[in-house]
């Protein structure tokens, strides 16, 4: 609508201020959400990138995977009944390289499966982030709980667990190092997998939350994100509220000469839309640029999907904020406004 646009043109400074606040808030939101996503990859890419299925832990483990031990007979029975199932274990630890330098890793071992790397005894396959720490194929690594040595067979991309790079080792080596015969977890890559007595089942998502620190980390970041979204909504409400208060007389006159209340609402909506869309376009562009330029070591990962989803939320929240502030317009009596103007 023309009148909305005219006001913005005449009062550029006012609207520019609101626009830049919305830009900053939305940009911050995008950056934090990129960080949250990046950290979650860093924390649990191993689990996150697994296909949809069911995870099983021993019921006595109280949902903590490293307390879980699955009975060997039961494991064999499940593996037989469910082709594609895999039993696996994860333990935090470290490897020493030829110079005796320590590198912390998450040891992963499993029965034969498409989902995990297959490794022979005395071999090790590492997450590619360890390349940056100077480890190469053919290097010999050791571990103080392991009698033998590991030869690096290769690298895989984006396999992280609890912020540490994953190290795939053979089950026999694992059993020696950690002195357990049982595996911690069984994974069945099927949507509705059966129940087993003595085992608790988890979806991909709930299993992620069973990883220590994962849910705490994600929850606090998500809380910041939603706070920022709410703040931006309140900014709209407060900003338009204050502008409306200044314009009560004007709205009264426009109503007196016969303008519909809905036309006044439309005026606020148009202004809110223009400001938000311009601010969002800027921060979407900048955050995508940041996604490309972020330093390699920084766990930052922002997809366009996330950005678009958050943008939609910003628009909706802005709309609600502006509309709430508009309710006072509805109450304005043209007569009062005229008389106030004459006082």
């Amino acid at each position: 609508m023309k009148i909305a646009w005219k006001e913005m043109k005449k009062n550029k400074a006012k609207f520019l201020i609101l626009g830049s606040i919305i830009f900053l808030v939305s940009f911050l939101t995008f950056i934090i959400s990129g960080l949250a996503n990046g950290l979650s990859q860093d924390n649990a890419a191993l689990i996150k990138d697994m296909p949809t299925g069911q995870f099983y832990l021993n019921e006595d483990a109280k949902q903590t995977y490293n307390l879980s031990k699955i009975d060997i007979d039961l494991q064999e029975q499940i593996m037989e009944e469910n082709p594609g199932a895999a039993a696996f274990s994860v333990q935090m630890g470290f490897v020493n390289d030829a110079d005796d330098k320590q590198h912390s890793v998450a040891f992963v071992t499993s029965t034969e499966s498409d989902v995990f790397e297959t490794v022979q005894e005395g071999e090790i396959i590492l997450d590619s982030s360890l390349k940056d720490e100077g480890i190469a194929v053919g290097d010999v690594l050791s571990n103080n709980q392991f009698s033998g040595e590991f030869i690096v067979k290769g690298f895989v991309d984006k396999k992280k667990y609890s912020h540490a790079p994953v190290a795939y080792i053979n089950m026999t080596n694992y059993q020696e190092m950690y002195r357990v015969m049982e595996m911690q977890t069984i994974f069945i890559p099927a949507k509705d997998a059966p129940m087993f007595i003595g085992l608790e089942s988890f979806s991909n998502k709930s299993f992620l939350n069973a990883i220590p620190s994962y849910s705490a980390e994600q929850m606090s970041l998500n809380m910041i994100i939603w706070f920022l979204v709410v703040i931006s909504g309140m900014l709209f409400a407060i900003f338009f509220y204050m502008m409306n208060v200044q314009k009560i007389g004007l709205y009264g006159i426009l109503k007196a000469i016969g303008m519909k209340t809905i036309a006044l609402f439309r005026m606020i909506w148009v202004q809110m839309m223009v400001i938000t869309i311009v601010a969002l376009a800027l921060s979407v562009g900048l955050s995508q640029l940041f996604n490309v330029l972020a330093p390699a070591g920084m766990p930052f990962h922002l997809t366009l999907d996330t950005v678009m989803m958050l943008s939609a939320v910003f628009l909706i929240v802005g709309f609600i904020g502006a509309t709430i502030s508009g309710f006072q317009i509805k109450k304005i009596e043209p007569l009062q406004a005229i008389q106030q103007g004459e006082m």
């Binding site: 023309k2 009148i3 005449k10 007389g249 004007l250 016969g258 009596e333 043209p334 007569l335």
Partner: protein
């Protein structure tokens, strides 16, 4: 011909426990092509009857007949439409929209009244009316840069651009000096005659009375003629 009739209109305000009757039965008929001036002491109810007639507040009782339609029976939305299409308003202060140019003020009014003119014709109509109030040379100016008299002339232009039938003016010259007041009254008189408007005006200023066709005196909520 009378096309606007006020019949036995009363208005009471309750403040706290006490109900105070401000209008005690007002009868008035307005005629086309005439300026009717309402005069009387402060607090006698002049603004109250004008705003009731203009559909800006409701009467407690009585009838307001505009071209045979009783406005007291209309819904809020119907009254709004009448205000938008058939009425024009001028107040003591001009109440222009601060962020619109003179030309845009009038275009907005055409928009509000839903005239069926195309964009080109609207601009032409605006030019015509601005020439009538001798403000065409300032059509790109914002209200802040106009003098009080100029603003009031723009306000009058806005009040008549959509060719209303009735023009309501509450002390339209109160904020102006005598010379400018007379210019504005001259203009109102000329417009009332040429556009055949029905004009109801409240004024305090005796010097403005010669411009009126009829003078009605109010006292304590009554018309005393």
């Amino acid at each position: 011909m009378a096309n606007f009739l006020i019949e036995d209109v009363t208005k009471s305000f309750t403040s706290g426990e006490v109900e105070e009757q401000i209008l005690k039965g007002v009868n008035l008929s307005l005629k086309e092509g005439e300026i009717t001036a309402l005069v009387g002491p402060s607090g006698s109810g002049k603004s109250t009857i004008l705003t009731i007639a203009a559909g800006l507040q409701r009467a407690s009782d009585g009838k307001i007949l505009f071209e045979t339609k009783d406005m007291t029976k209309m819904s809020q939305e119907e009254i709004r439409q009448v205000r938008a299409k058939e009425f024009g308003f001028v107040f003591q202060s001009s109440h222009l929209v601060p962020f619109l140019t003179v030309e845009e003020q009038l275009l907005v009014m055409l928009d509000v009244s839903k005239t069926k003119l195309g964009k080109q014709e609207q601009v032409k109509e605006v030019e015509k009316i601005l020439k009538l109030v001798e403000m065409n040379h300032r059509k790109d100016a914002y209200p802040a840069s106009l003098s009080g008299g100029e603003r009031q002339r723009v306000a009058i232009a806005r009040a008549i651009i959509h060719q209303p039938k009735i023009l309501f003016a509450d002390e339209p010259t109160a904020s102006l000096d005598t010379k400018r007041s007379k210019d504005v009254m001259e203009l109102l008189r000329e417009l009332t005659k040429t556009l055949n408007l029905t004009t109801l005006m409240v004024t305090h200023d005796e010097e403005m009375l010669p411009y009126a066709d009829r003078i009605i005196t109010m006292r304590d909520g009554y018309i005393v003629e």
